[in-house]
Symmetry: D3
Subunit: 252 residues, 6 copies
């Protein structure tokens, strides 16, 4: 699967599934890329993959079928440019608090004249057929994470950022930032109101939309609402839950 | 938990659970060592942990609660000695085909005068309180894998090997070696007969017993039969099954 | 030993020893964590441990008895958050030049509402019994390094930073910044005056105090003065000095 | 490209090119797998790839188009089984000195009843569509290296080894072993006589044939003679020669 | 060769050759350091060497004859200080857009009173005979990259930055930034005008000059123009071109 | 320093000092290679350096002044050949029990016609000026460890092994094997008798002699007796002792 396949699914209205990889293992990445996920997001913020591991983790994914996304550690131009040079097909940028943050993110991710990305796509061009420089701005996607109260305040302006490709909701940090008692509670009216506003703004500005969930039921609900990229937890959660269940079974 | 805890559970007749780690990740090892397993077996035969990774994988386990076992890649004296120097508390040796193999395994794993293990317990002594040299032969366990037709033929002599601590059945390779149609079918009479013989010989020679299973129901059945060390698959199988289930749920 | 043990020692007025790890080795970390140090500081500024090595270095320490501290490379929010997610129990932040730097450091290190730390404590929660989110702000300590002339100028305001847990003096960079001829000379009146001022301000604001020394005599003197965290050089200095002494002995 | 593509080319009489990877780099492996080579041989004997690097090196190759071969370090059953479990599609075994060596090589590389390979194809099965156990013996190839005087003496018996898939000539060690003055001189009558005998025996026993060359002219000559797998040096030689040429150009 | 040798060559008017290392391999670094290059630049911006690999890559170079330069990923003080502590002898800083950027670069790279570099030269001092603190500001060189339209606008002020050691032209990003149709076309009048201006300003301010080329003919032309540091592509380009040529030869 | 320097010192009757590196760190190796040791022995038997780390550890040593020796994990031809290809200048082979073991060791370490070493000196030739193939047998040294009762029994025949370069006494395993109560007690008459016999046989057969000690006084005594290579413990022991002493000083 390529990013073109993903965009084509989205054009047809088909939601795309996604798993966050938070551990550190090129082997797990390869295994999961052979396990039926449309896309895999290497989590460089709260996960254990550093740039030193990004190369082999991306190679593991490329050996299979999933399209590699990266959740950046920070809205830092050098990380943005490097993740793209390594071959990430989409970037999810955490802690976008306002339109200025969003503009800086896009500027670092896009080549001139749209932005200021420096040229040197060492691995990205390898996987690319054709003229990487002229195609890259279209073929690599930028998702701004909406996960703070301040981002919600500046949401209209963030959504209007020229060159931005999508909005991605992080309901855990958003709950923390809003001071909600329960984290990522998809029945919370405040959270739902923000979700609806993000969807509406995305439609208005022709942006892709994504959201992080941990429960398959929430995942399905969000797909029904119209989200295009549905993350449902991390491989670590899958493993921990499976281990717990196994131990419960054997001792019951 | 220490190997003494494990031996004390066995003296009380309590079976001990176990998971094989076949991927390569000091992080997964640490995570699983905080997940309730009594023991974890780092699989160096069909898994991806090489000696270069063994140090950090063992450190990951030591940071948590499980006792580290190692399934060797081969009955090779230099690997046996090194795995013990690194701090493995028990060794499961594959492809023991006869009493001579078993004697060689024990010889490499035990200090003189019982065997020929060379002295230099760089990490093992670190974790040990007291006189490692005089205690090591008792505190590190040797399990011979019974997984070939030839081992079954020489089972009496293998079980009588002086210094051997246990027998461990590998039902997959055993099924392959015996030419059984289904692999690791615990309702197969041939397999069950061997299982019973191993248990009887172990009782006669005061050996510990272990077996590899993948289904929790088989695991429970084997515990009821009297096995003391019950492996139930690998962390990779847990992850793959959980991923499949998640994808099934979201697309159903 | 846990951070609670350390804080309990401090409450009783017992100084706590510390060694900086400046080389890069999960093995040295584990070895030193079995060698009697109360705390070990992984030096990410002038040492060779990068985030790629931080995981296994922390695992090495966790396998033993010492409590892991991290000296950050920089006052950078993404590094602060990540070091805490990996499981550092205390952060020593270099190059705090004024109250604004100190406030930024604390903001990145503490969860809302006190600060802006993003939620996702992958390894830190693993080692934690209970509710990590609500306990973390108390259980992870922030030390601001006082090591520049400008920090000395703004010392009162730095010490008054809400949420800051401690002050840590770096006498080498401080000597360089002040233009002192000898580096880290604990008989220098200028240095001693700053030391006394730090101790007084710490008492006033209920902050912990720490200092870096290389000579055991200086270490003891600083403990007598009332410092609570006494670093005495690095493992590299221990090794280099021991090697030199050995060569001197053999050739004398 | 898959091993089936390679075999299909051979059935059509098309020689297949090959490059030895002797450095240690998953990146070089990926780069070369996007550079037009039909097959790449990871050299574990005289190269720098150890089993710890084999996983990521194979992932690098799998991310591109070449089929991964491995030249083993030794005719050692545990290495043979492990290289296959990691996903090597063909093994080139050095230092086969007689028919007994060849039989041991094949026995370790093939599942029962043909050989004694132990079951646990962790990565190999991942890349495989279908029933790995029943297909593996056909889909993984075994090449015996003919590179010693003793192998030449026992050549008829080596070629007759049941289950062996191919013969591969190592002209450098062969020259050394025969005491030839020039190494790998393809105009040497002794060497050519052995080459012809290998080709004839291969035809008789329906074995594939391969040979190592460093000069493209030799490579073309060997293809004309009928060799199916033509190695032409290593990536290190390519780089060294290119560096020398560049320096010559700039200083001329 | 040491940095003193390089400076001595420059004093005699001898241009110094250079190769960018963009892959990730301490082995390639060592190999190239034995291949006749005066200097090697580890590219941390568009290359695959992260700080985790910098140590072993520098060790590889130190084992041979070339002097190690580092092209930084970003004008970031913590990276600048760390690259110098690791032992880089010269830094090439990308994306210097104005005099303020240049001053920040120099400040982070030089010890007080010239700048604010923090003291702790863990590996740099190891390779140094004598008093590292007092010598370092002279023995480690700072090159500002001129590679954006804005840098060209502020060129006079950049060149006048106190403490800056050199100017280094990046013709690829410069072409992109200027909107030139062909990248790095050394016959382009706009590019040549900038080149001449850089050379003139360097002479005026006694700065060293460097430039990146990929064609040996361009390299020779730039040496004739007076550039002192002539980079001619990357080791990856050498390898790719050599592979292509080899495949062309064998199939022709 | 090169192996030629070492041999030249020995010809002049000057003993050469040596330290065992048992931890795993290319950094420690580089540091120690700048610390005044004539030779450093990477311990692959009871130390933590595996072949995956051997490359960077040797690079670390090559960046400094010491000559790199390797203590092999086992008398295994593939390890012997590989350690030499990586650039070890001398091999110390453990567990040589008789003349047949010694002959196998030498055969794997020497090129034809003296032995059967396979040709492909990837890194060794890099450091070598001239014709590696013809010089290697003289420039790489083979030391057989005398550390078992059986080796003592066959000592005359071991010492007479054609092509063997030296004998190296391992007093710890030797004490264990002989059943001595105290390990490596240099006042023990049994041990001293063996030491004298080794020295006499070495003189008779023109072999170099080496011995492992941990106490500088023992080291000096052994040098006086005529040993040429004097190992005095490991870098881990230096560090552990220095840490203990530091803690004693600060708490006294």
């Amino acid at each position: 699967m390529t990013i073109e396949t993903i965009k084509s699914l989205w054009r047809k209205g088909v939601p795309v599934n996604n798993l966050f990889i938070t551990g550190r293992s090129n082997w797990s990445a390869e295994l999961l890329s052979h396990s039926g996920f449309d896309t895999l997001t290497i989590d460089m913020q709260h996960g254990l993959t550093e740039f030193s591991q990004l190369l082999s983790t991306l190679q593991g994914i490329s050996s299979g079928d999933s399209v590699p996304f990266v959740r950046l550690n920070w809205n830092d131009p050098q990380e943005i440019m490097k993740a793209l040079d390594y071959g990430a097909q989409a970037l999810i940028c955490p802690m976008i608090e306002n339109a200025s943050d969003a503009a800086a993110f896009v500027s670092a991710a896009k080549y001139p004249p749209l932005g200021k990305r420096s040229f040197g796509p060492i691995r990205a061009a390898l996987k690319h057929q054709g003229n990487y420089f002229s195609d890259a701005n279209k073929e690599t996607l930028t998702f701004a994470m909406i996960e703070t109260a301040s981002a919600v305040e500046d949401l209209d302006a963030i959504a209007a950022t020229p060159g931005l490709d999508g909005l991605y909701i992080g309901p855990f940090d958003l709950s923390v930032s809003l001071g909600l008692v329960k984290k990522a509670d998809f029945s919370d009216a405040n959270l739902l109101a923000i979700i609806d506003r993000v969807l509406a703004l995305a439609k208005q500005h022709q942006l892709y939309t994504g959201i992080f969930t941990v429960d398959p039921l929430d995942a399905k609900a969000m797909a029904l609402k119209g989200f295009q990229l549905i993350s449902c937890g991390t491989e670590i959660q899958l493993l921990q839950n499976a281990a717990k269940k196994w131990l419960d079974q054997i001792t019951s």
